[in-house]
Every structure is written in structure tokens, then in C-alpha cells.
Subunit: 342 residues, 2 copies
Amino acid sequence: MKRVTIKDVANAAGVSVTLVSFVLNAKVGKDGRLDCPVNQNTAKRVLDVANKMGYRKNVAAASLRSGRSHSIAVIPTDISNKFFAEISRKIEDKAYEYGYTVLFGSSDEDVNKLDSVLNTVMAYNIDGVILAPVKNCEDSVRKLVEANIPVVLLDRDLRGVDGVGKVLLDDFQAGSIATEELLKSGCRKIEMISYNLEISSLLERERGYKQKMIDNGLANNIKINYTTYESVEEDVKSIIAEARKRGTDAFFLPTYSLSAQVMSVMKDLGLGTPEDFAIVGFDKSNIYKLFATTVAHIIQPLSELGETTVELIHDMIEGKRGPETIVLKPTLVPGGSAQKKN
Amino acid sequence: MKRVTIKDVANAAGVSVTLVSFVLNAKVGKDGRLDCPVNQNTAKRVLDVANKMGYRKNVAAASLRSGRSHSIAVIPTDISNKFFAEISRKIEDKAYEYGYTVLFGSSDEDVNKLDSVLNTVMAYNIDGVILAPVKNCEDSVRKLVEANIPVVLLDRDLRGVDGVGKVLLDDFQAGSIATEELLKSGCRKIEMISYNLEISSLLERERGYKQKMIDNGLANNIKINYTTYESVEEDVKSIIAEARKRGTDAFFLPTYSLSAQVMSVMKDLGLGTPEDFAIVGFDKSNIYKLFATTVAHIIQPLSELGETTVELIHDMIEGKRGPETIVLKPTLVPGGSAQKKN
DNA sequence: TTGAAAGCGATACCAA
DNA sequence: TTGGTATCGCTTTCAA
């Protein structure tokens, strides 16, 4: 069963391949007319024939000739990570609306893996790249920009790289309102647990926390406990244990995985919130509602983040917009975990 | 900055494009030698030159000529669904090992959306398709088979379609051991809540439950409460309310989302497990551990499912294996939610 | 072991 | 409005 080509359609319709190509690439105007320099009747007939024959464009051929592929690459650090899984889905849907096919690849927080994924997708003549920057990826991104491939950074900022679009959360504010909520509940010895990834989102959340502490004359109480993906389980255990000794009031947990980990350890140790520690978590999840006491947490506008990202890359591809920076606002979902302790 | 082509490399290395193509497509033997009909020294030199020039293959051109693309399509129902997000990641990693690029697209449990995604990816000359069947998708899958595109069904079976590989969970057994666990704890009035999706995985889990009930002389207690994605929240509320009235002992919840929903409603109503209802949930998640009482649940071997799927599609693409069916076993993670009620 | 040349199926350019 | 034809970059004969 050979595939139907544009030539087959041309023959069957009794016109040239040029005409068929015109018709097949024409946008349909709102009046139902096909926007191409072809007689409307001929155009309609060609379209009919193509459909009847089950014609499907060979993207490889089109891409080879035109240098464009109508596909974009999306490179989160890990597609199975809750946040990225959900935002990827939003991106997929919106991209689909615009007629883009999406190539996904996870970078695993590793520049080398990122480069490797980029190499792969670049071979596909992708029209644009949406990616979550990882540590030391400045050069990789710069290469894309130099190759004139539109880039939009998602979720994390990257200093010192020009010409890229950005769609970010106001992470400073996220850290600020989380800390404020804990302050309001009477906590003073407020700490953070964070990953030492050196990515802007975490750094800004930390900065928001620190600034709020300073503004409230609590500079001396600032303490950020660092951990890594690999050692998070044991680290959190010992951090919690030591925090009890030094009389820590509360924790602001700037990611979903840290929140889940802390809640898990607390449950294992028979600790409750807010009586033992007040906590504010991050990102939407069932766990906050199902824990013994409802846990306050910061949420990101996922749909808006995803949609904005696709709109921006699309406009950049079409040359309608330059590399803008768009910053969206976080929201606090209150919970018993950050209520008055007494 | 023009892209480096095979011709540029050929010129720079002083050989023909044919040779360059040979070298670039050669597999590296374990002895480090390049497996191609080219002088090893020439081959090494060509490779060097290519690397130095930053050559990257134009996949569109290669695919156009060869009809193959070294890419596979993966079509879950929803990439943001926990189960599919995690398995997609496993698939991505394994596919990457084999040198495949992965195109993802969510079908949303909708045949029309599935067809649309398939149409898109087919235009990419994909080498194979991994998909989770949705209701009434038999014709769509048959079309792929007729077009000689290797297909592996993931997670769900499809009757009446031949020539496709399958990687499934033993869902009958999953239903069976979940029910058995509840029986062991003394429950007799055991019910299920399930989606009316008419997909094999759910149907088999239901069958396993029913059979176990029948085997224990409890045929009269069999009751499956159906709901839909859209109405799950309100449905679960009323199901739980009525179940209290009729003295239901326990629920087997055959998906993660149903488990989370039931736990959420129970918490809202101030109900505890196992004293009000014993429960067994499905799929790995933090929520089972963080609920007041640890919740028993069935887990699937995700890594194995993902890896097996890629291995099978790869072997089918290479013609090394036919369309086999592989069934993996579920495991029960015990929890207080299914302990003796008294 | 090497190379020349024919296409793969579209799009783009130019001419009619 | 139409159509002829060169061309994109690679793989694949076939011949040397």
C-alpha cells in the first residue's frame, strides 16, 4: 500500500503539483474560502480529491525543502515530575491548537543530557525550543540563539544570555508570601529546606524568604538547610531532628518533593503540624488536603504558564514578538499547618 | 551561519558524500572499529572532520530518502496523569538508549483525538507506535497495522485486533489480590468504585474482584459503583454517603485518581479507615503514606512496563520479534487501611 | 574500498 | 491563475 503523494493527487485532479501544494497549504478564511492564488472551484476540487485519496503530507519532504517543521521541542528536567508533567500537558494542548507537533525530552538537571537532547531535536529542523534551564547551560542556550532558533525559558531564569523569551513565576514574591503567612501565625524561627541546584526559581524563593525575614527584624533567624535529589530522604530526617533540638518554629518548603518528604518524615516521627512545626508547601497536590492537618501551600498558575509559553514561542517564530519576559503571580492556599500554634 | 551538510564534510575530508554517509551511519563495534565498508583510517578521519565542523544530520533529508525516521510515537491518554507521566519517562529513557526520538501526544480517552494525533505523527514517518487504547479505537489501530507500522499496546488490551504487540499488567490478578486482602481483614460487603470507560484494564480489575467474591460465596455482595472523569467528585460523595447507609465494609479503588478522591471525601466527612471503610487503592503515591492511617494499595512494575514496551517495539521494528503479548505482575503494598477492623 | 548519480516528496521560483 | 523545474540533504544503487 504505497503512500499517496502530492503528485498522485495532481494527476487525479488533473492539475499541476504546484497548484496542489498551494491548495494544501492554504489557510481557510472565516468565510470558508481558501486563501490562495487558485480558482476557488479548482481549489475545492483538489481538496476533495486529496481527502478521498487519503493524502497525508510527508513532513520530512516539506521540512527538507522549507527548513521549517511546524514542530517545537519542549525540554523539562523531568517529564515525570508533577509540575512539569502538568505544564507539559498544557503546552501540548496549546501547541496542538497552533498546529505544532511537540518533541519532548528530559534533561535530568544535567547540561550534558540537555546538549544531547538538543542535538537530537535540532536535527529535526524544529521551529523553536521551550526549555527549563539547568545549571551551567548558558552556552547551550547561546548556541540556539546564534543558530537563530527562537527559545523560551520556562520556570527558571538564566542570567547573561540575551535574545531569549522567558515565562517565569514571581518566585521572589512566592518566598515572600509564604514567609509572611508563617510570620502571621506567630512563627519567628522560620527556616527553609532547599535543593542546592543553583537555579533561579529556588534562589529567588530563598531571596523572598530572606528579605521578608530581614524586613521583620529576624535576620538572625534566617537558615536554609540544603539537600540534593539523591540524599533528600536522609537529609530531611536529620534536618528535622536537629531542628527540634534548636527550637525551630516553621519550615517553608519551596518544592513539591521537599514538601512531601518533610510531611512523610514528620508522620514517621509522630510529629504534627502546626504544633511541632508550622509548614508552607509548594505546588498543587492532593497530599496537602489529605495530611492530618491541611497544609498551606503556594500554587502556580499552570494553565497560564503553559499557554503563555506557547503563545510567546509562536509569536517569536512568526516574528511578531521579540524575546519578552513574562512574570506570573503565585497564590497562597491557606491551611491549618500555618495557623496560630496556640 | 549555514548548517554544515554532508557535502561540506566530504569536501573538507577530500572524499565522496557516499563515504561520509557510510561512516556516519556505521555502528561502532565493541573493538572500537567502525562497522562499514570503508578503510578504517579514512573512516576515523571523516568522523574527526565531521565532529570538528559540528556536523549534525538533517533528519528530514535522511527520513525522506530512507522512509525511516528513528522516531517512535507514544500516545498515552494524558501525559499529566501520574501513571502515564511516570511510564512515559521510563519509555523516553529506554527509547533514548536505542537511539529513538519520541513524539508524545495525549489522546484524552477520545478516538477522534487519537486519530488526529496519529495523523500528525504518521506524517513524520515514525517507525513505530506505542499507545494506550481508548474506547472504540479498533479501526484506528487496524489502520496502523495495515500500513505496516509496528504497534505496541500499553496498559490496556484490545480485542479483535491482530498483529499488535501488547505489554499489560495482570489486571485480573490485581483485582483478585486486592479483594483477597480485604477479605482477610474480615470484610464481607466489599464494593468497587470504577470509571465506565470500557477499557480492559478496569474491566479485568473488576473481573478479578467479582471472581474472588464468587469464590468466597459472596456473589450477592458484589457491587460496582460507576462514575466518570467529569462527575467523579460529586459521584464519590453520594456513593460514600449511601454506602454508609447500606453498611458497606470496604472499597477496592482500581485507579489512583479514584483512591485520592475517596480519601479526600472520607477526610471531609470525618470518616476514618479501616473503622468506617477498609480500602485498597491503586498505583504508587505519597498520599497512601500520608493519610491518617497508611493505605494499602496495588502497585505496577513501572520501570519494567516501560522498558519492556520499548524493547518490544524495537524488536518489532527490526523484525526480530513478532507481536507478542507480555503480562507483568502487580504487587500489593499492605497498609492499616486493610487491617482487621476490630 | 571508493565514487557518481538517481531519487525520496515536498516547496519556491520563474515563466506563461 | 496556472504549470515546469530546480532544489533541499541525504541514502541507495551501481559501477569502477
